[in-house]
């Protein structure tokens, strides 16, 4: 979207134009959902949908605080990253507290007497297992990396933002972004190597 068109669209959104909001959602929801999907190796579409809903709800509430110093999508991705982190932490806390009720795949429906048989579009069981293992390890490595390295890596490799966009979003110098990203990658490599050696799994092949 052209910057001028985006500015006009945001102005209409600030004025309460519902159609403008719909246009804004259509323009940025897919990119935000894909970005959120990469932020967690265990995120599914429902998780992404929930995180994106929270992110866009925050946009609706705080659009007036957007100063236009960066692109709207960069601002939106930062909100989505924060919401994804909150979601992940919340789910982790729920796991520790036993907030989930396990459902047996062999359990029959009390009304129909049929057992659930959901369709599975994923790759084969072995590939899925290996891929899940590797993605899980990268996710664990990013979690161990912590802020601010996690954020700058996500914006650079998952959101595909340039150094300038990252600098504008984080309000940092471009050279600072480059230096920080280089150091964070070194730390991430160290963490991943340690995790992979511990799990005896080969790193992900490109």
């Amino acid at each position: 979207m052209e910057p001028t068109a985006e500015t006009e669209l945001l102005a209409r959104c600030r004025a309460g134009d519902a159609q403008a909001w719909n246009g804004l959602f259509d323009a940025h929801y897919a990119a935000a959902a894909r970005f959120v999907f990469q932020l967690g190796s265990d995120f599914n579409r429902d998780d992404v949908e929930e995180i994106c809903q929270e992110a866009f709800l925050s946009v609706v509430k705080h659009l007036d605080s957007f100063q236009g110093e960066s692109r709207f999508q960069t601002w939106l991705f930062r909100i989505a990253a924060n919401k994804a982190r909150d979601y992940r932490e919340h789910r982790r806390a729920a796991k520790r507290g036993g907030g989930q009720t396990p459902v047996s795949l062999q359990a029959e429906d009390p009304e129909t007497g049929l057992a659930p048989d959901p369709p599975n579009t994923a790759p084969g069981p072995d590939a899925v297992l290996i891929g899940a293992e590797q993605a899980s390890l990268v996710g664990k490595a990013l979690d161990q990396l912590g802020e601010p390295c996690r954020e700058v890596i996500e914006l650079r490799y998952f959101a595909d933002l340039s150094y300038d966009e990252i600098a504008a979003s984080l309000k940092l110098n471009v050279k600072t972004v480059s230096s920080r990203l280089s150091k964070c990658l070194d730390r991430l490599e160290t963490v991943i190597r340690e995790l992979f050696s511990r799990e005896k799994i080969a790193p992900l092949a490109v």
Binding site: A18, N22, A30, R34, Q53, V138, Y157, L188, P203
Partner: protein
């Protein structure tokens, strides 16, 4: 902007492979679900409704601006108080001399035309006087000396008019007795300045240039200049000698030295030197008094200002009534309309007096009785008043006895024709029989026990000698005509005459 100079790292390949794998895992197109859109649109609608401004009330702008309005009003109040304080401090720190100047400026501003005219005349007269003084002192011609004296008298009058203070201006000139000027009849149009000539038994002694006048000297009766000219001796040899009963060594220090003459001029603009007692004129005749006593109940105004003392301080006038009530006000030159009004009242009263005859009027004071004879009621008094200026005053205050507010307005005049005289009933000190200057029946030396001698022409001549009581004839001539209002009662006309200092 990418950083190509950054060395490639293997971890980047791992991250890119992870990202590609996750994107592929995301599957088909990711569109916003309808329920998510509905939730967001509901939130947008709520926020839009909350942000929609309602009808603005009239006080909302004020309520929104009240802190600034409060601060602004406070700043204005502080500035106003500061200005008041600074102004007040400035007034208090002014030196007293500036206060006196301001008062004089105010007074001169009240009479701008007359003061300017008077000052111009004074300048001219001073020039003429300086020119005339040299020949007067250099030559002993009586005519030249007389001209200088006349000019000096005129100058005194003008200077006195410019000052407007107590109406007293004393000009002292040293002049040998042998150069006593012959009297020259002055112009008939200048009757106001009345010189008082004091003859000394030893005329050879010089008089100090700044010799003070005896205190009561300015209070001597005024006489028309024409009569004065008649009374003036043509030379010092014709001057009446001092009475043999007066020893020369008993001369007080304030008495002028021998051979000197002190000329005192009494202003007709300000007949009061400092203070003067007045008594209100009683009813027109005894018959009127008896008729009023039968038909009219005594009014409270009759007790007010029956006898009072009038004091002039600058342009302030303070009237102290017999019961101690004090009325304060301002005094100023009477305007033309006020003078016309006073003259019309005077003329009407004179007509009524003429129709009733010349019955004497009784003026009652606290100390005694006063006899007022108005022999030339209308004509001569009008002439004399036309040549002088009257003072208008207005005073008000609370009467102690009646506990009511008293307002008195009037004109204060001092006729120079000597039509009024006063005396004490039973005291027997003296009673002038009408006009001093014009009454041919008044014998020379009728001034009584004082050492002032009245000549044939009516001039009063003070001889050097011991201090003797001097009649306060000018005060006796002072008269107040005006109106009096006590409380809510209607105004009544009053006429009061000066009865003493």
């Amino acid at each position: 902007m990418d950083m190509p100079e950054e060395p490639h790292k293997n971890i980047e390949d791992t991250l890119k492979a992870y990202a590609k794998q996750r994107r592929d895992a995301a599957g088909g197109p990711l569109d916003m679900p309808s329920h998510t859109r509905a939730v967001l649109q509901r939130e947008i609608a709520q926020r839009a409704a909350a942000a929609k401004p309602g009808p603005q009330r009239w006080f909302e702008p004020i309520a929104a601006w009240w802190p600034r309005l409060t601060v602004g009003a406070g700043a204005v109040a502080v500035a106003a108080v500061a200005m008041l304080v600074i102004t007040d401090i400035g007034r208090k720190t002014r030196p007293p001399m500036e206060m006196a100047k301001a008062e004089q400026q105010t007074q001169s501003a009240a009479f701008p035309d007359q003061s300017s005219v008077v000052m111009d005349s004074v300048k001219k007269l001073e020039e003429r006087r300086s020119d005339d003084r040299i020949p007067v002192l250099a030559q002993s011609a009586p005519a030249a000396a007389t001209a200088g004296r006349v000019v000096g008298e005129a100058l005194d009058e003008k200077l006195k008019a410019a000052d407007k203070l107590d109406g007293l201006q004393v000009a002292t000139r040293a002049m040998p007795a042998k150069e006593m000027p012959a009297p020259v009849p002055p112009a008939a149009s200048k009757p106001q300045p009345v010189p008082m000539t004091v003859a000394s038994p030893s005329p050879a002694e010089p008089l100090p240039a700044t010799a003070p006048l005896p205190a009561p000297a300015p209070k001597l009766a005024a006489a028309p200049s024409a009569d004065l000219a008649k009374a003036m001796p043509s030379s010092s040899a014709k001057m009446p000698a001092s009475p043999p009963s007066v020893p020369a060594e008993a001369e007080p220090p304030v008495r002028p030295a021998a051979g000197q003459f002190v000329t005192a001029a009494v202003s007709n603009m300000a007949p009061l030197s400092q203070r003067l007692r007045f008594a209100q004129v009683a009813a027109e005749s005894d018959a009127d008094v008896q008729r009023q006593s039968r038909t009219v109940q005594p009014q409270p105004s009759q007790a007010v200002l029956a006898s009072f003392q009038l004091e002039q301080v600058g342009d302030r006038v303070v009237i102290t009534d017999a019961d101690g009530s004090v009325y304060e006000g301002r005094i100023q030159l009477a305007t033309e309309s006020q003078q016309q009004f006073a003259q019309s009242r005077r003329a009407s009263r004179a007509r009524s007096t003429t129709s009733r005859g010349l019955a004497p009027r009784q003026v009652t004071t606290q100390a005694g009785e006063f006899v007022w004879r108005e022999k030339d009621a209308a004509g001569k008094r009008e002439e004399s008043r036309a040549a002088q200026q009257e003072l208008f005053f207005a005073a008000s205050g609370m009467n102690r006895s009646l506990n009511q507010r008293v307002v008195v307005n009037g004109t204060l005049s001092s006729p120079a024709d000597g039509a009024l005289a006063y005396g004490r009933a039973g005291g027997g000190t003296m009673t002038f029989g009408g006009m001093i200057a014009r009454d041919s029946n008044a014998p020379a030396g009728a001034v009584g026990s004082s050492n002032a001698v009245m000549s044939e022409g009516g001039q009063i001549v003070l001889r050097a000698g011991p201090v003797a009581p001097v009649p306060a004839a000018p005060q006796a001539s002072a008269q107040i005509e005006g109106t009096l209002r006590v409380g809510n009662t209607p105004e009544v006309e009053i006429t009061a005459v000066g009865v003493g200092p």
